[in-house]
């Protein structure tokens, strides 16, 4: 068994319980506080976005538009998509990155702590602004907001939507600057880049995408805003503009956005599975470099969202080629995770349940993704429930399950308490059944002829829709053990200790929660982050030295 070093701390800097709860509501530059702020904020928006989803699924239990008006339904679907993307998954990824990166590389804090706090504090106002659009009529053109429709309906709601996205997009960019700089410049002595945990590699890839693609979204939104309120005609054909240009600008960001949403959780899974299988990650370099490959390829696939739009055949075929290609680095990861588990000693705790559920669901989303890459098939299923099924498998089955795997894995480190395993298991079972019941029937619905973004549908689709609605209700219920478990753990949870999982990465070599400056002494790294299974009499992975003797 690998025994992490006991830390004797004659130079302890401060008591980890020095943090007061009030600190979490202030402008605080500690990356751990900021990480928790991001995570709590994003979880709140998970419930808000989920609420709109439940409204939609309740409407869709019957073919007629009889629960909410079709206009409000479109508002609900626009807010659901926007919130889940920009206020749940993206900031949650930033939350994990904020909390973990300095700890994982052995640094005291991020490279630019004040910029980091600014980045977080842009998020709640952006979210509240978005929700305030309900007061003037929320936008109704979907999270994609294609003009001319977005120029014609719910003008002020649409403008509020644009403003809030510009705010949260800025937050994302500022965070990425910090992540890259910290990882490249502040690693502890002895941590060369190939000893960095894979969560960090995937955040490198995601941050590069954020920096390169978010400005394109800003451009699209600013031009749309000019059309909306200043009478310009960038996207208005009546004035010589072209709505397809918006689509190119929008998707140039929004396709990389989906990789921004999955890469952090790829990284989390790559860290969770080795620990709970007691085996090194299989193919460290392959996983690290395939993250970079996904990042690069992710920038040249965007027009596969436009296969039926104003795009010529040669352009559609080019993007089909690049989109097909991106399946290869993704497949490498899935097989590597499977190979990591194979032959290991799996502890089936909540973190590992969610990690295995992630692999199970993500592969389904990946398979339908390759189908969607094929141009002739996509011509049929574009803008149908087949696509809705696909992206919920990769976003819910992928990102969200990966998020929960990370949540259960790092909960003891962040809070210093153990989460009740029975509640975690209940959360997993309800979530896993709920997600499959909600999203699997959608593939058939799309193939048979049900288009998306509709409040009223053809009678023949009702029985499958009812399955989806029951699944959605199950997903709502699944949040109960999660919420109960969080409060139970925070107030009555068993103390976690420094390293309840006997893991080897640096964050586990300090207390739970860590002291304000993370480590009592500068860590010096001599072993890899996944060196499980080596001779137990060998030296431990980390030697903590007194900083003064360096």
């Amino acid at each position: 068994m690998t025994t992490p070093l006991e830390v004797s701390n004659p130079h302890q800097i401060d008591n980890p319980r020095e943090r007061k709860w009030q600190d979490y509501f202030t402008f605080n530059t500690d990356h751990k506080v900021i990480g928790i702020q991001y995570l709590v904020t994003s979880f709140i928006f998970y419930f808000v976005g989920g609420f709109f989803a439940e409204l939609m699924r309740t409407e869709l239990a019957t073919p007629a538009s009889d629960f909410i008006s079709p206009e409000f339904y479109n508002q609900a679907l626009t807010l659901h998509g926007t919130i889940m993307i920009f206020l749940w998954i993206v900031p949650a990824g930033a939350g994990f990155a904020n909390y973990l990166i300095p700890l994982m590389v052995g640094a005291e804090d991020m490279a630019f702590p004040r910029l980091n706090a600014i980045a977080f504090w842009l998020t709640p106002p952006g979210g509240i602004l978005l929700l305030s659009s309900l007061l003037v009529g929320a936008p109704q053109a979907g999270w994609t907001s294609y003009p001319p429709l977005s120029l014609l309906t719910g003008k002020w709601g649409q403008e509020i939507w644009i403003m809030s996205l510009l705010i949260v997009g800025t937050s994302s960019i500022l965070g990425a600057i910090n992540f890259i700089t910290t990882m490249l410049k502040m690693r502890a002595p002895g941590m060369d880049i190939n000893k960095m945990p894979l969560f960090c590699w995937s955040m490198l890839a995601a941050s590069a995408l954020i920096l390169l693609s978010t400005p394109a979204l800003a451009a699209a939104l600013i031009l749309l805003s000019f059309d909306l309120i200043a009478g310009t005609n960038f996207f208005n054909p009546n004035g010589g503009g072209d709505p397809v240009v918006y689509q190119h600008l929008f998707w140039f960001y929004s396709h990389p956005a989906v990789y921004i949403m999955i890469l952090p959780f790829f990284g989390a899974i790559s860290d969770v599975i080795p620990v709970h299988s007691r085996k090194p990650i299989f193919g460290y370099r392959a996983i690290a470099y395939s993250s970079l490959a996904i990042s690069f390829l992710g920038l040249i696939v965007w027009a596969h969202h436009m296969y039926t739009s104003g795009t010529p055949g040669w352009l559609r075929l080019f993007f089909m080629a690049t989109t097909m290609l991106i399946a290869v680095p993704t497949g490498i990861k899935v097989f590597s995770w499977c190979a990591t588990m194979w032959g290991g000693k799996i502890s089936l705790n909540s973190a590992m349940l969610f990690a295995m559920g992630f692999v199970s669901s993500f592969v389904i989303g990946g398979i339908t993704g390759v189908m969607l890459a094929s141009l002739p098939l996509d011509i049929h299923v574009h803008d149908t429930y087949f696509v809705v099924g696909h992206f919920h498998y990769v976003l819910f089955g992928g990102s969200v399950l990966g998020l929960f795997a990370g949540f259960y894995h790092w909960f003891p480190k962040i809070t210093g308490r153990m989460f009740n395993e029975s509640l975690g298991r209940a959360h997993f079972i309800l979530t896993f059944i709920g997600l499959n019941l909600t999203f699997m029937p959608m593939h058939e619905l799309g193939l048979l002829g049900m288009n998306r973004r509709i409040a009223l549908y053809d009678q023949q689709f009702q029985s499958l829709n009812q399955l989806c609605t029951w699944g959605a209700y199950l997903l709502a219920i699944s949040t109960a053990p999660l919420v109960v478990g969080i409060f139970l753990a925070l107030f009555r949870g068993e103390k976690a200790g420094d390293n309840p999982w006997n893991a080897l990465t640096l964050e586990w070599q300090t207390s739970s929660p860590p002291p304000i400056l993370n480590f009592n002494n500068t860590p010096i790294v001599t072993r890899g982050p996944y060196d499980y299974g080596h001779n137990p009499t060998e030296a431990e992975s980390v030697v903590l030295t007194d900083a003064q003797s360096l």
Binding site: M1, T2, S65, P70, E71, N74, A141, G142, Y146, P148, L149, L152, T153, P237, P243, V244, S277, R278, K279, P280, F282, Y284, A286, T308, S309, G310, P312, G313, L317, M320, V328, I332, F335, S336, C338, W342, G344, K345, I346, M356, V359, S360, V363, I367, T368, M371, S374, I379, H380, D383, H443, L448, G449, N451, R453, I454, L456, D531, Y532, G533
Partner: protein
């Protein structure tokens, strides 16, 4: 009796392959295929279902096996074996998916080409009236000079097709109706009628926002975009009625924006044309054969009014088409 694990793995592999092959051909997930192109698309979809089923069973199987076989036994605090990789295996699972997606890409290209996706006709000078641009505006447009030629994007004539386009219908999309304009009989209708076995070209324009014309049973779809003309070409091979579905969010009643395609025998089609066309000598105003009386058709009447074709009171009860 101890069966060697190699044999068990082999048998499982064979079983997985057979199940995938069977399910790929028998999934029953697609609606009826009403054109030759639809059958080609179903062919590639079946191949992708086969591969997908195989991969699905493989990964889920591995997960379940790990769950059962590689659980940590109570009291075992030792680590697992320090295996960090296996280069030949990693090369294999990189190469095989790369080859598979490469072949799928080639097959997809073939099918797309056979659907007319690369047809020069789909990017030709459509020559329809340009709504809003003057010729001077057009001259100053994009460097590629696309607008001045009113390039039509979409699916055109399949490359190997010998048949010329038999029937051209102009399609107007608007919130929330489809209006079809038949040049021969000067018919304006809310329904699309075509003869079976003949090549039909749709030239589509949108009046307000982006819509999309989708025929699920034909597996074809094309966005209808204001300011440009887009095109679809197809040849139906089965008589019947098929839904036309708008497939781009166009407003609150996007879900109700539907119409019907009637594929008829040539005789029935000629009869329909005759029954619904204008008799110019009598100077009648255009009769309007409207969409079948479905809940959604109420949207059509105001749009027909806005097209300047106001039905006389006596003609209101003629607003059901004669098939």
């Amino acid at each position: 009796m101890n069966i060697p694990s190699n044999i068990i793995t082999l048998v499982l592999g064979i079983a997985l392959t057979l199940v995938s092959l069977w399910y790929g051909q028998n999934h029953g997930l697609m609606p009826i295929a009403a054109s030759d192109e639809a059958e080609a698309i179903d062919g590639i979809f079946d191949v992708m279902m086969t591969i997908g089923t195989g991969l699905f069973l493989l990964v889920q199987g591995i997960l379940i096996f790990c769950l059962v076989r590689f659980r940590r036994r109570k009291g075992d605090t030792q680590d697992g074996p320090p295996i960090e990789g296996n280069v030949p295996l990693e090369i294999l699972w990189t190469a095989i998916p790369a080859v598979v997606v490469f072949l799928l890409a080639i097959y997809s290209f073939e099918v797309y080409n056979s659907m007319g996706g690369l047809d020069p006709h789909a990017s030709h000078d459509v020559g329809l009236h340009a709504h809003h641009s003057t010729s001077t505006n057009q001259k100053n447009m994009l460097a590629l000079d696309l607008s001045s030629k009113n390039l039509a994007y979409g699916l055109g004539l399949p490359s190997e097709s010998q048949d010329p386009v038999n029937l051209k219908v102009k399609v107007n999309a608007m919130q929330y109706a489809w209006i079809f304009n038949y040049p021969q009989g000067s018919i304006v209708s809310g329904e699309l009628h075509v003869p079976v076995g003949k090549t039909v070209e749709l030239d589509m324009e949108a009046n307000d926002v982006i819509h999309a014309f989708w025929l699920p049973e034909f597996r074809i779809k094309q966005d209808v975009i204001p300011g440009r003309v887009t095109e679809l070409v197809f040849t139906a091979n089965k008589v019947g009625q098929y839904p036309i579905v708008c497939a781009e969010l166009c407003g609150a009643y996007h879900g109700g924006m539907k119409s019907v395609l009637y594929v008829q025998t040539p005789e029935d089609f000629q009869q329909w044309l005759k029954d619904n066309s204008v008799e110019e000598s009598s100077g009648e105003t255009q009769k309007i054969s409207s969409a079948a009386a479905s809940a959604e058709s109420q949207f059509i009447v105001p749009h027909i009014k806005s097209l300047g074709l106001l039905p006389e009171p006596e003609q209101l009860d003629q607003l059901h088409s004669k098939h």
